[in-house]
């Protein structure tokens, strides 16, 4: 496509034997504000550094304007970077910092002056040219870092968590300003952040990443309203995720009730994940018509109240501007448009890390590529259906009976009931029969270990500082 400025094709990167990027492919359209969003260690910064030229991929290709630039060093690329902690030159003043790139290009001084002054105007720091870097506040240093990158008129600006060190108020202001600059200059911004709100506010396109893979690419509305899997749904904002069964088109059963929904195209009785946003649930009087439960807690969150309602063994999170009384019995009104159905293409199971690179799932041990967690730490494992391999049953493996076989266009969906949990496998093996006893196994690098979202989010803010 002609209007793609950057294409990444099947990029893998390994650091110290650990796969940081597991074959990602991504194209970035010219003049777009693209955000790479994900928790720490998901590979988003590495992706940015590949585009900047600071990391060379182990395999895969990087294209800029259709030309392969794998081996091009950073100083020859038409991109500039705003670094996480600004990385301004402490031995130069504001003017000389911004002029740095132009002087390296040996541009005439009068032209440099003109450009630097217009940049200072763009970042609202006119009159600061003689200041020392050490005499500037964090927010001002940030603006200088942006000016220093933009003065070179790059085709693409890379921003690596540029607002991470600023306070909330300043961050909000800078978000709006960055968006304004991007529109005014009409160039491509690639922005890295772990802050989902920031990503939703600023981006034209969001790329959600986890464990070195891309989870979903879409507009902020797409990502928010139609998360592709439970990881995206959880990461983009606290959501209620419930197991459900798609009875027929536009009809889903969950929490012992049948709801109308707006989704279709599932096989009859297909198991699905149902996602309902906390702000989409309305609290109403408890009648037969609605799901009912007791309000367990009410917390004031500033703009809204967060209530936890216990119903059908599930803690429902509800956001509302009106609060209900703690302990009261309420009804939960959920309308068809607010029910989001996700295919269970990912198998998610509770698991325990028993050793470095060894995880126990349903009491059976499997090798995995994770060695940074504590022993006996409870985690979730996420395994794509295409990576669930069906083998002969054995005592060392999770075993179960095949409950259903659904023929899809290019693969066969097999549902395996292991008692504790149903596993979905996408296979091409057409010799399987319903009721057959089978074992399942996985390649070590197909098992994604997910720390519980709460601990991940709290760890993110600390680790990102590195």
């Amino acid at each position: 496509m002609a209007d793609n400025i950057i294409n990444l094709e099947n990029i893998t990167v390994t650091y110290d034997g650990e796969k940081v990027l597991k074959g990602i492919s991504l194209y970035i359209r010219d003049k777009e504000f693209v955000t790479l969003l994900g928790p720490s260690g998901c590979g988003k910064t590495t992706t940015l550094r590949i585009i900047g030229g600071f990391v060379e991929p182990d395999s895969g290709d990087v294209f800029f304007d259709g030309k392969k630039i794998n081996d091009l060093p950073p100083h020859k690329r038409q991109v500039n970077t705003v670094f996480q902690r600004y990385a301004l030159f402490p031995h130069l003043n504001v003017y000389d910092n911004i002029a740095f790139g132009l002087r390296v290009q040996k541009m005439p001084e009068d032209e440099i002056k003109e450009r630097v002054l217009s940049m200072l105007k763009l970042v609202n720091l006119e009159g600061y040219q003689r200041r020392k870097i050490s005499k500037l506040s964090g927010g001002q240093q940030q603006r200088i870092a942006i000016a220093r990158a933009l003065v070179n008129r790059p085709r693409v600006l890379l921003l690596d968590e540029p607002l991470g060190a600023l306070d909330l108020q300043l961050r909000k202001e800078m978000q709006i300003e960055l968006k304004r600059m991007q529109q005014q200059l009409d160039i491509t911004f690639i922005y890295v952040t772990h802050d989902q709100e920031e990503a939703l506010t600023m981006s034209d396109t969001i790329v959600v990443m986890n464990n070195g893979t891309i989870q979903q690419i879409g507009t902020p509305e797409d990502i928010y309203n139609e998360p592709k899997n439970t990881f995206v749904a959880k990461f983009i904002g606290a959501s209620n995720i419930i197991n459900g069964v798609m009875l027929e088109d536009y009809k889903v059963a969950f929490a012992d009730r049948i709801y109308e929904c707006v989704d279709k195209g599932f096989t009859a009785n297909e198991e699905v994940d149902v996602v309902i946003r906390p702000e989409d649930i309305k609290i109403v009087a408890p009648t037969e018509e609605y799901l009912t439960g007791f309000v367990e807690s009410v917390t004031f969150k500033g703009v809204h109240y967060e209530m936890i309602v216990d119903s059908y063994d599930m803690k429902w999170t509800i956001h509302s501007t009106k609060s209900a009384e703690e302990g009261s019995f309420v009804g939960l009104n959920i309308t068809p448009e607010d029910i989001h159905i996700m295919r269970k293409s990912e198998n998610i199971a509770d698991a325990i890390m028993v050793d470095n690179n060894v995880v126990s799932i349903q009491g059976k041990t499997y090798e995995c590529d994770e060695n940074s967690l504590l022993y006996n730490e409870s985690v979730e494992v996420q395994i794509s259906s295409k990576d669930v391999l069906i083998v002969e049953p054995s005592d060392d493996l999770i075993c179960g009976e095949i409950e259903a076989i659904n023929k899809r266009s290019v693969f066969i969906e097999v549902v395996i009931n292991t008692g504790e949990k149903k596993w979905i496998s996408h296979t091409t093996n057409d010799a399987l029969t319903v009721g057959q006893r089978v074992g399942i196994t996985f390649d070590s690098d197909d098992i994604y270990i997910i720390r519980t979202v709460e601990s991940e989010l709290s760890a993110t803010t600390e680790e990102e500082d590195e």
């Binding site: 900047g52 030229g53 600071f54 060093p73 950073p74 100083h75 991109v79 500039n80 970077t81 670094f83 996480q84 902690r85 990385a87 301004l88 030159f89 402490p90 031995h91 130069l92 740095f100 790139g101 390296v104 290009q105 020392k132 050490s134 220093r148 990158a149 070179n152």
Partner: protein, 276 residues
């Protein structure tokens, strides 16, 4: 409350203040006293006037000091930069190797160089063995400067290394990002940012080089008298404490002026570097 704590603070500082008075202030005053008196203890400017006979030695000392400092800088900066780019383990090994010779006595190190450079030393013996003519190395200005560079160069490496190794990697990447190739990264960013380290390195090499003794006696064969040797001789051989004190005093003032000049290159708020 505040008053008692300041009294406590003063009490804590007392031993050091006594130490300074006895071992720093008093000797300095004695140097000044001897410099301006004659053997009988009467005030005189004779010792100061007599210094014009030593102008040549002063100039030679400063000249050798400058050459030693420049050579040390030329070797130390690339060395410090090169090792700072390697793994932490490699860095600590290299710094260790740099320090190990300094654990041996200065006199022994200088004697070793005599053994290496002398007419019947290791190098010339080897040259003769393979049929080359021996080279006259000992008792030349080159040998003296070699000895000084060898002994003082680590003091140049350490402050420069400490500044470069603390440099934020992002700053180097920012320079590359803004169009610098490897050489320009060094000339436009690493070198200017190392100035505080370079300045303290220059001071730490120049001051001992100018005032050193013994090296020139052993490696220069006594032909290239330096100011340190002259002072030593006044006290040890001629027993002319007054002249020795006046030379010391003038040397001290010269070095203070040099250091003050060097310090103008670093401003207070710049980080890094070892200030002595």
């Amino acid at each position: 409350m505040k008053k008692s704590s300041s009294l406590w603070a003063r009490l804590c500082a007392a031993p050091y203040i006594v130490w300074m008075i006895i071992f720093i202030a008093a000797p300095l005053l004695m140097v000044a006293y001897y410099a301006f008196t004659d053997a009988a203890g009467n005030f005189t400017l004779k010792n100061i006037v007599a210094l014009d006979g030593y102008a040549g030695i002063f100039i030679r000392s400063i000249w050798y000091g400058i050459i030693t400092t420049i050579i040390s800088l030329i070797i130390a900066f690339p060395f410090a930069y090169a090792i700072s780019q390697k793994s932490t383990k490699y860095q600590s090994t290299m710094i260790m190797l740099l320090m190990v010779p300094m654990w041996m006595n200065f006199l022994i190190r200088t004697y070793s160089w005599m053994n290496i450079l002398s007419d019947n030393g290791i190098i010339n013996t080897a040259l003769k063995a393979i049929g080359f003519a021996p080279i006259e190395m000992i008792n030349t200005p080159g040998a003296v400067i070699l000895g000084m560079v060898y002994n003082f160069m680590p003091y140049m490496v350490l402050p420069i290394y400490s500044v470069i190794s603390k440099m934020d990697r992002n700053i180097i990447e920012a320079a590359q990002d803004l169009g610098c190739n490897k050489l320009k990264v060094i000339t436009r960013v690493v070198l200017p940012m190392s100035v505080p380290g370079i300045v303290s390195g220059i001071t730490m090499v120049f001051v001992p080089s100018v005032s050193t003794f013994y090296i020139s006696q052993k490696l220069g064969g006594g032909k290239y008298d330096l100011i340190g040797d002259t002072i030593e001789r006044q006290f040890q051989t001629s027993y002319n404490y007054n002249l020795g004190a006046s030379i010391s005093l003038v040397l001290m003032i010269l070095l203070l002026v040099c250091m003050a000049f060097m310090n103008t290159f670093t401003s207070d708020d710049e980080e890094g570097g070892i200030v002595i």
